[in-house]
Amino acid sequence: MIIKHEFLDFNTNFAYFTNKEPEEHIAKFLKMAYQNNKPRFVERFINFYKANFKAYDIQNFNDILNNINKLWDVSNEFSYEEAFKIENNNFRIKVFSYINIENLVKELGTTRINVEGKDVINKVWNPIKKIFEYIPTTLIYELHHANGEKLGLKNAILPIVKCWCTSTNNEHWLWVNPDKIIDNSPLSAIASTCCIYKSMYGKIKYIIRHGDVFVFEMIEKVIPKENEEIISLNTDEYFSLLKSQS
């Protein structure tokens, strides 16, 4: 059974919180989620689970809660460096959702390297009129270099792309692989975030980007294998296939 909680679910079959993270990590995460506010943490997390454990007659799990409660007092929130080192993808995303990326970038210090725009015709669905609409849009991307010292990386230049959501106009920052950037082009940097399995290459009909999700319609059936090589698209491939984004 899974007990659902606004921050961390508990699996009663295996007696662990989301993703089997160590209790030290759970305490550090909860410090972030509850903004270091212990009374709120006790009321909304510890007491929530104690009540649930009692209701399901599984009070032997209270030891886990007591341990996390003790760890709270001696833990700090995840540092940026620690957060990047979290191995489990889902848990790392959870932690990063409480890190303000704009503050992180500001704190690291960045230099703007290059700006590029791309005129596209964005094909969006109007769910009320039930028709496609074709909206001319200019996508703007900025390539920055962040200083890696505060992440424990001496003399490291970390490329990061700044872009704006076409739906919300919110600012987003995406870390990119320096080896995939051609001539400091922000367009090549953003294209490199569109990764596919090698068996998909040359078989993509079009791409829809929906926030952080890519939907690929394939020309033919392709079922990638788990251990298959991953490749990223280049600028021309990405923007010629991208038909719709929001």
Binding site: E81, F84, K85, N89, R92, I93, S97, V124, W125, P127, F132, A146, G148, L151, G152, L153, A156, L158, C165, T166, S167, T168, H172, L174, W175, V176, N177, P178, K180, S192, T193, C194, C195, I196, Y197, M200, Y206, I208, R209, H210, G211, D212, V213, F214, V215, F216, E217, M218, I219, E220, K221, V222, I223, P224, E226, I230, S232, S244, Q245, S246
Partner: protein, 83 residues
């Protein structure tokens, strides 16, 4: 009477999940890049609490969903982006 075959498939879990709605069948799910391979019979829409709705083509059949990838500057490996 025509049978309503519309299904909901959560493409990406979050506080505002990306949800695909259409005559869809999940063929394969993979941990890597949060991949989902789907078979569609016709158009499907993708909704989200904050992003505008998008839609596949009328004759859509073979769809693959992959999460955008960032390059973790500390571990030097790909990681799933999040919005």
């Amino acid at each position: 009477m025509t049978e309503n075959k519309e299904k909901e498939v959560v493409l990406e879990q979050s506080s505002h999940p990306h949800t695909l709605k259409g005559d869809a069948k999940v063929i394969k799910e993979m941990k890597g890049m949060n991949t989902i391979v789907l078979e569609l019979q016709g158009a499907a829409i993708v909704e989200h609490g904050q992003h505008a709705t998008v839609r596949t083509e009328e004759d859509s059949q073979n769809i693959i969903k992959i999460t955008q990838q960032e390059f973790n500057p500390v571990t030097q490996a790909l990681m799933n982006a999040f919005d």
